[in-house]
Assembly symmetry: C2
Homo-oligomer: 399 residues x 2
């Protein structure tokens, strides 16, 4: 009785807990587990993105079958529609999405600065025009926290300003100071600290000094977890790897580390080698909807006329539902005919591809074979080059 | 050895076999089973429509879970794209659709006459303009048979002319004579009579005499099954019931009877009472895509603003995946946000609704309670009235 009574209290004080299972000897890579109020996920982990309350076209049961354990929701989109109050009335984001596992929501910061038509931005927050009905909407640390508290994800993110990768240093610096001021307001506004772990976001562009300064300031706050933001926003692969290598070691070993919005398999591998635990990206689903399938042999464009009578699966040896039951020829036909099954099947395949890669990376870390794995497994080299090559063939620049 | 050797021969001679299990005492309704080369389905059966090689948005595993046992493919659409040769190269329609159960293909006749831009029609066949690329395409009894032989469905349909329900008698008569001439050419052209059962289609509009004449002529051909075509094409419910009541008893008891393209739950019930075994219709999926859900309490428009914060399932008590895991509020949001999950979930629900109704009708026939079932179960009265009422509320005339 007493033991049962104590556990919730202990748990309530640590909404997100990182468990280290193994470390790679040749890199900063680590194998672990993140424990949340809605269960545990194995790390390094890839989290599929369910922007508007659904990973596009994929039912939760299918998503679970891909091996995904933690998924993302977007505060920006859900704040605008259906609104956090509605989601709360409908039982919170887990019930809304029919996903009883861990969920992470971003703060809306990245979307505001990358998608929205901004009217005003100052220390108080951002006023922008809703893309749905044109009304003026405000996002601020307080509004973002309130929205994320109402949504109820297990991991929530600090509201930050994310300038473009090539913005002048003065803009980067101003954004950084603003972001550091905002995180303290986020902490004060956060009303469910016992259930939802608030992660801080290290910004600073490609400037290592600024990254280091930001990391140091955030670490002083002893947050439940830390993210690297503002990467894969145009700074280039080498700059990203440099920032990763410099910044990740500055983060505390006992907390989960999350590289936001990244990326190609090659980028995930770079993150894993630097010691990152969590990744998210729309790439597998967005590319899937556009008929681009990730395979160990490169990216396959399913609209390619050569595949019209191809009896093989999307990827030989893949165990996803699409590959188990459908031919390439049929999948191509679904795209040509505008059938939903095309986007659904290639999205499913791509998510499974990403999950299988992460599982193999985790196995390689545990087994002490990460070095040879990343050297020899062709998936670990899959970057924008592989993709654009296939894209060129069809003359498509969709991706 | 000898026994094993004989069986395929017997089976090869009877590609489709009807097994009568029970008859209702108060009507012509019957409970049975149809055996095909790809397995058996229980009757009366509702067959979801997979026009272009997929039931829109639904994966085969999900479709199976709704209780569907036999599904439809459309010769018209598959003939134009990807073409029967491509489907054959990809392993035939079963492999193409990833459906290893029974499949039925229509002949293309109905679609040519209802959808296509017809250039020429005479006894030899129909020349029309492809809606995909504008090229002239010919469908004739021979072309339809060849296409259906290449697709490889278990049940295939005779190529017929299906005039509008309100066409003048002289047009109906000409179409009827043409259809009767065409069925003999279909029989001669059919190259896989041992594996694919060719059903004849009784036409004749609302004219009972013509229906009787057509049925008589077709029954003389001793076909593997018989369909009623040209109903639910504008003749009205009462006329349909009259034709059903007059024509169905003229068909042989030992063969399956199929009412094509019908319809509302109310219409299926009328068909079952007249002794029909098989039904197909796009209604559950098309209405599902347009956010109209069938429920025992009437048709529910999921876009209705009143449902925005509704915590209930689409239909209380329904065991479909959508109702088990999603709230009405979430489903409404998916439609408002243009997410694929909206159409997917309501399609799934509607197919399950139809399958549950058919299972309950089968149980009522077996249990001797059909009369009270159709009198008291509100689903049995669900017709266009229920639908238009809900439609009016939202000002939508989509259905």
């Amino acid at each position: 009785m007493q033991r049962c009574g104590l556990l919730p209290i202990v748990r309530a004080m640590v909404p997100v807990r990182y468990e280290l299972l193994a470390k790679d000897l040749g890199s900063h890579a680590r194998r672990g587990r993140v424990h949340t109020a809605h269960g545990t996920f194995e790390t390094p982990a890839f989290m599929p993105v369910g922007t508007q309350g659904t990973v596009k076209g994929i039912l939760p049961a299918q998503l679970r079958e891909t091996g995904a354990e933690c998924i993302l929701g977007n505060t920006y989109h859900l704040h605008l529609r259906p609104g956090p109050e509605v989601v709360a009335k409908l039982g919170g984001l887990h019930r809304f999405m029919a996903w009883d596992g861990p969920i992470l929501t971003d703060s809306g910061g990245f979307q505001v600065f990358s998608l929205a038509d901004i009217n005003k931005i100052d220390d108080s927050g951002v006023v922008f025009k809703s893309h749905i009905d044109g009304r003026a909407v405000t996002l601020s640390p307080e509004v973002s926290m309130r929205t994320q508290n109402l949504l109820g994800a297990d991991i929530i993110m600090a509201f930050d300003q994310c300038p473009a990768g090539d913005a002048p240093v003065v803009v980067q610096e101003e954004a950084l100071e603003r972001t550091l001021g905002w995180i303290e307001r986020c902490l004060r506004a956060h009303e469910r600290p016992g259930e939802q772990g608030l992660f801080g976001i290290v910004q600073g562009g490609a400037d290592l000094e600024m990254r280091g300064y930001c990391a140091k300031r955030l670490v002083e706050l002893d947050l439940p977890g830390y993210a690297l933001g503002g990467l894969a926003v145009g700074e280039g692969y080498e700059a990203m790897v440099r920032v990763l290598g410099h910044t990740t070691p500055l983060l505390p070993e006992g907390k989960p580390r999350y590289l936001m919005g990244v990326g190609f398999p090659r980028d995930l591998v770079a993150g894993v080698l630097a010691g990152i635990d969590m990744f998210d990206c729309v790439m597998p689903t967005r590319n899937g909807r556009n008929a681009y399938a990730f395979t160990a042999a490169g990216v396959l464009r399913l609209r390619n006329a050569k595949l019209a009578a191809d009896l093989g699966p999307i990827e030989q040896g893949c165990d996803c539902y699409a590959c188990r039951v459908f031919t390439r020829g049929a999948v191509r036909h679904f795209f040509q005919a505008g059938e939903m099954l095309g986007p659904i099947l290639v999205s499913l395949h791509n998510i499974r591809f990403y999950q299988r890669l992460m599982a193999d990376l985790r196995g390689a870390i545990s087994g002490g074979s990460l070095g040879s794995f990343v050297t020899w497994d062709p998936r670990c080299r899959l970057g924008p080059g592989g993709l654009s090559e296939v894209g060129k063939e069809g003359g498509s620049g969709v991706v």
